[in-house]
Subunit: 422 residues, 2 copies
């Protein structure tokens, strides 16, 4: 991809997650040529991925073509491609297939992956929840486990198949545990003849002393109690020692499980390594306050791949709102810089509220200066998430589906696709 003969400065953005997309939008319509590269053709609304994994929503409900989102900006080109390397000296981004993009300014927003803490072999038995493929895989495993329990005549095997273990008590783990519990207790409850899905066992394992460790302690306690009301067994202070196709071992004790889901830790995407900057222990790129990569000219990073200290020096958490705010800030700053030569102002994070949801009736919200929990928090969560969903038709469809699901406990997307039957 050779850029057209074009005097406009060229900003290349790698990654169309919350950060990259916000950056591109802020540059939309400005006298700057923008190319945004992603290996997917869609932007994924990751906070609702757990609803695809538990059959409440369809993939297309939470994904939207990047071309469609950015199509109204004539100065933005969308490229479907996988970045294989970055040369910060010659200012080139290499894509699989051999094409190269030259940049004047580069924004790296490639996000994070799950980290299996030195046990990559666990990935096969305990998929994480980062992509639509992951979500469909987990959905197929969950539903297949109940189907197998139905035809088994061995009570021990039935009980094992009806056990779901979720590793990691962060927001994803908590949300998955609540959603799996409700899937089993309600949507599946009356559909089988030989098993009672309401007796399904859901175990949430957290190695630290409490779940939702990023939240104030009283919200952790509330979330634990809310999960237990849904029938989830919450284990804290115990680390998973091994995972195989039949279950997990935790604190020397074996738990047989039909489905194991990983949500225990993340690591920065490998793109940071290509920049030649010294990475921190979690593989993140260290940034200056204006989001430029330390020691590398004209390269910026944002979101989960980067480490941005807040005013107290602690790194900002890996959250969608951090990435989105950084993207918006950087896009505006770059536009001003490229137009008028203005220096880039430092980024400042505004906490819009950190949230986790527990089933259909409870959520926790932490705004820093105040906290919310319970049904009202749930309603607020639902309204905010529908509002943030990209695309008007998605919002309408998802709202309709939620209202329907709320009234009936029905799950519309209970499909086991054969390519994930195992």
């Amino acid at each position: 991809m050779t850029p057209k003969a074009d005097s406009r400065p060229h900003v290349v953005i790698v990654g169309a997650g919350f950060g990259g997309l916000a950056c591109a939008r802020a540059l939309g319509g400005k006298p700057v040529k923008v190319t945004i590269v992603d290996r997917r053709n869609y932007h994924l609304f990751v906070p609702l991925l757990y609803q695809v994994a538990t059959a409440a929503l369809s993939p297309a409900d939470i994904a939207r073509p990047i071309r469609r989102i950015l199509g109204r900006f004539a100065n933005i080109e969308v490229v479907l491609g996988t970045v294989t390397g970055i040369d910060t000296v010659t200012r080139r981004v290499r894509l699989a297939g051999g094409t190269e993009l030259t940049y004047d300014k580069l924004v790296v927003a490639t996000g994070s992956d799950y980290s299996y803490f030195g046990h990559p072999e666990w990935a096969e038995c305990a998929p994480g929840l980062r992509s639509l493929e992951d979500a469909r895989r987990i959905r197929a495993r969950l539903l297949t486990a109940f189907e197998r329990a139905e035809v088994s005549r061995d009570p021990a095997r039935q009980a094992a198949l009806m056990t779901t273990v979720i590793v990691g008590g962060g927001p994803t783990g908590v949300e998955m545990a609540g959603a799996v519990a409700e899937l089993a207790r309600h949507a599946l409850a009356r559909d089988f003849q030989h098993i009672d899905p309401r007796r399904a066992k859901i175990v949430l394992i957290e190695a630290g002393p409490r779940i939702l460790s990023g939240f104030p302690e009283k919200l952790s306690d509330y979330a634990k109690a809310a999960l237990e009301r849904l029938g989830v067994t919450v284990i804290t202070n115990e680390a998973v020692e091994s995972i195989d196709a039949k279950g997990v071992v935790v604190a020397g004790r074996r738990i047989d499980a039909g489905t194991v889901i990983w949500g225990a830790g993340i690591k920065a995407s490998p793109a940071g390594g290509w920049l030649g900057a010294a990475l921190d222990r979690a593989g993140r790129v260290p940034l200056d306050p204006d989001l430029s990569v330390k020691g590398v000219a004209d390269v910026y990073a944002l979101g989960d791949i980067a480490s941005t200290p807040d005013e107290n020096g602690t790194p900002l958490p890996a959250l969608a709102q951090v990435a989105a705010q950084q993207g918006y800030h950087l896009g505006r700053a770059l536009a001003a810089n490229l137009q008028d030569g203005r220096p880039l102002p430092p980024f400042k994070f505004h906490n819009r509220g950190n949230t986790a949801i527990i089933g259909r009736h409870a959520a926790v919200f932490d705004f820093g200066w105040t906290q919310l929990k319970g049904r009202f928090a749930w309603l607020m969560w639902a309204i905010i998430h529908v509002y943030l969903l990209v695309g008007f038709d998605n919002r309408l469809r998802v709202t309709l589906q939620w209202v329907w699901a709320y009234m009936t406990y029905e799950r519309g997307a209970r499909l086991i696709m054969s390519d994930f039957e195992s």
Copy 2:
């Protein structure tokens, strides 16, 4: 799966398509034990599959868990399993994994597959459209072809990638051609910078003298004209000679294409071979007028796998409405027979109208005694298809999506999932 000690007669139904499902429903609540086996956990509304393949609908919109549909009948057991053999002497159905079902009455409703006329190697290059996996695969190929055209700088390769060839001018081929044309001309039209998707080429190839050969000639002519108005090139009287990853050869002429879709012929599912009955040339099971398999006691067949002559002796076409009517008829007949020993009455088909749709504005309807075409036929088609969709929430969602898509030409499900990237 040993049947419970149970004095009720046991009806086993293999296949939960339109026929098997209608049969199970007709037996619901009767003093009969019913087991329905399918290798999928969902019933698929195949007539709308082309809309998933062209990104208008999501898989879950046209699929519904079999357990959910039949869950209200306590006498029906749903088994997710693959039938590997049938023994009509000991009256057993064998499932993969070793379980066996014994039956008093067996209903075989396993449908049909695409036939590649002795060229199974074409299947990889030219997927048919029979399953959700097929639909997602075709969707990914179509969308990926445009993405590749966008990054290519070779005009010949761009033109090839933007060419879609559809083999077979039956209803599926006609519907796919119209839907692909509209996807390219409208939904994708403004989303690219280096290609103009409106210049995409769609070629429909039919070996016979006219498309929609199952319809009266004037409807074929209308459909051809309607497709040509959408920009589809319709080729008749020419057979495809070869298919490879780069395109097709038809009548000695090569057509390079980014996507090739097969819709040219069907063959009965292999289950017919297990019954020990003499099959017809198309592999279909010959039936007596009461839908019992000729010469095999207590075994029935219906839908695409069977050959049922109409009053003139011509076999009924492989249509959803034939299968559904047969299923309903057989279910009621078996219930009466098993309760009171009443003999099974002969099946009689009532033509409810054969239909095909061409894009957003045109459809054809053939009721035998009268024909319809144009916008009114399209509206009728839409109302009937939404009405027939299983599940109230699906109907609502699909209606909403269609109204939205009709107003905006938007396609919500434009996702390329990585497992189908090629």
